[in-house]
């Protein structure tokens, strides 16, 4: 990138099972105001707004329309990404890089508590060929989990270690929904949902929202003493139809990571990155994603974890926040990862702070079994 885009304000809610003590608009107004205050800007300074939400989760058509007032979009440019919040950040970044905007607000919200999560994810699939057979994100992920685990001889206990790491680390994260001292036995004894995925292997479903303020290089330098820069970004999508994909591969994530590393000038992610916040909705995915992002060889995700490389004090901490296993605001998740990454490189991640964090990776995914992949590198 010739000109860089800066992140000058961030905000996230606490992730909770149920935020019905607030209307959606109350929650969104809160994060938007906090992010603008964090950036030191007011509504007048904002040129454009990009929101991320999904109609079926919101239970209404073009559901971004309910946010017009509370994101301050009246008489401004607003567009919506019907998918992950990190995807919306790509769109926001482009509004700045193309010169259409100097200051862009990106907002993502989801209320997992409103509807029926697996019913909603059943609607992702082909209504003629796949929906009637009950395919949803859980059962599709179980197919991927089992295939991946069989191919690389990974056990259910191995996957349980991911949960143990995340739930224990989440105790340092006041925004986490689930955070507790956990053992592999706890995970192994949790009820089987879809073999080999058990209740504790799966992220909870949360209510939550995030907002960030993006600024052009010039504006970021003028407004902020220490903006966090987007140093690299890559996105890639693979075939939607599950039956066309080898679910143990995941070329899209490998490609998206490679592109982001090239842009950021990263040759060895393990040495050069200080931490990674990855969107893994199920325990096995954290292992699979870290392999595809090139942190270790194929099939070695578990070894990499067992060596302590991904622990909070490791060579490349993965999800010091606890990740999605500790809180899963569904379509917000990728933006949560970015907010965490920004807090880390600012040195403001409090009890979960990774020492001397200067460059971090944020990952988001959309669609089933990692169909769409977003990777962003941020740093000082």
């Amino acid at each position: 990138m010739n000109l860089r885009v800066g992140i000058i304000g961030v905000s996230q809610t606490k992730y909770e099972t149920n935020k019905s003590y607030q209307a959606i608009t109350d929650t969104v107004f809160e994060v938007v105001q906090e992010a603008m205050a964090d950036a030191g800007v007011s509504r007048e300074d904002v040129d454009s707004i990009v929101t991320s939400s999904v109609d079926l989760w919101d239970g209404r058509t073009a559901s971004n329309q309910m946010l017009t007032d509370v994101v301050g979009a009246i008489m401004k440019s607003e567009s919506r990404v019907a998918g992950d919040g990190l995807g919306a950040t790509f769109q926001g970044m482009m509004t700045i890089l193309c010169g259409a905007s100097d200051l862009t607000l990106v907002v993502s919200q989801c209320r997992g508590s409103m509807g029926d999560p697996y019913g909603i994810s059943n609607w992702v699939f082909d209504p003629i060929f796949q929906q009637p057979l009950g395919l949803d994100y859980l059962s599709a992920a179980a197919l991927q989990a089992n295939h991946y685990m069989k191919r690389f001889e990974i056990t259910q206990e191995d996957c349980a270690r991911v949960v143990v790491k995340n739930l224990n680390d989440a105790q340092n994260n006041p925004q986490a929904q689930v955070a507790k001292e956990t053992t592999t036995d706890d995970v192994m004894h949790s009820p089987m949902w879809a073999y080999p995925i058990k209740e504790m292997d799966a992220a909870p479903v949360s209510d939550g929202a995030c907002a960030i303020v993006l600024a052009s290089q010039k504006k970021a330098k003028a407004l902020s003493k220490n903006p966090v820069w987007i140093l690299g970004a890559g996105c890639c999508v693979e075939a939607h139809y599950l039956g066309d994909r080898d679910l143990t591969e995941g070329e899209a994530l490998a490609k998206a990571s490679k592109k982001a590393y090239e842009m950021a000038g990263i040759h060895d992610p393990v040495k050069e990155l200080d931490l990674a916040e990855v969107s893994a909705e199920f325990s096995y995915q954290e292992l699979l994603w870290t392999e595809l992002m090139g942190f270790c060889g194929r099939g070695n995700g578990i070894k990499f974890l067992e060596q302590g490389m991904t622990s909070a004090e490791g060579a490349l901490p993965v999800n010091p926040s606890g990740g999605m296993i500790a809180g899963n605001p569904v379509t917000v998740a990728g933006l949560t990862r970015l907010v965490e990454a920004v807090l880390q490189v600012r040195g403001k991640a409090e009890a979960r702070q990774v020492q001397n964090a200067k460059m971090a990776l944020a990952h988001g995914t959309t669609g089933c079994c990692g169909q769409g992949q977003y990777v962003m590198i941020v740093g000082n």
């Binding site: 606490k14 909770e16 149920n18 019905s20 003590y21 239970g59 697996y118 019913g119 082909d126 209504p127 003629i128 060929f129 796949q130 929906q131 009637p132 057979l133 009950g134 395919l135 949803d136 859980l138 059962s139 599709a140 179980a142 197919l143 991927q144 989990a145 089992n146 295939h147 069989k150 009820p191 089987m192 949902w193 879809a194 073999y195 080999p196 995925i197 075939a239 139809y241 599950l242 039956g243 066309d244 679910l247």
Partner: protein
């Protein structure tokens, strides 16, 4: 942060959305379901460029970005490429009732096809299921022209 007293006070209004759609099946799904209904054959289409046989059949090969060509019969036997056993309740859209669990669900590569299809497996025990397992489609006797015409995949040896 959670304010328990408010959570009790504020209303949550139940809304039930009931919408009806008529999804066009297009030329390819229509022919697929008609062939299966009338002759009990499962069909795929072959890409004119890469030669892969795609099931479900579709007008375009996404990999090559060209129109697909000839129709070829596939299956009814096939191989399990991925599987799971579902333990949590799923409401079966065709009956409106939960499907008895656990039940087997898999990605099945029909003989002669490149892509897999997801379907119900007769075998529901994860200890007995394996990748590479041979299965065969069991069709309904009175077929209606939809995916439910394949009842499940039975285990063969």
């Amino acid at each position: 942060m959670k304010k328990d007293n408010q959570l009790e006070e504020l209303l949550r209004i139940p809304v039930h959305m009931k919408l009806h759609y008529r999804f066009p099946a297009g030329t390819h799904y229509t022919r697929f379901f008609r062939e299966m209904k009338d002759s009990g054959k499962i069909m795929g289409v072959k890409c004119t460029q890469c030669g892969r046989v795609l099931v479900p059949p579709r007008p375009v090969c996404g990999e090559c970005f060209v129109k697909t060509g000839d129709w070829v019969p596939v299956g009814p036997k096939g191989t399990v490429k991925a599987y799971t056993s579902i333990y949590i309740k799923f409401i079966d859209g065709s009956t409106g009732k939960p499907r008895p669990s656990p039940y087997g669900s898999g990605l099945i590569q029909l003989d002669g096809a490149f892509s897999t299809i997801n379907h119900i497996l007769e075998e529901g025990d994860p200890e007995k299921l394996y990748i590479g397992m041979r299965v065969e489609a069991v069709l309904k006797e009175k077929r209606e022209g939809n995916i439910g015409d394949i009842l499940f995949f039975k285990t063969i040896t």
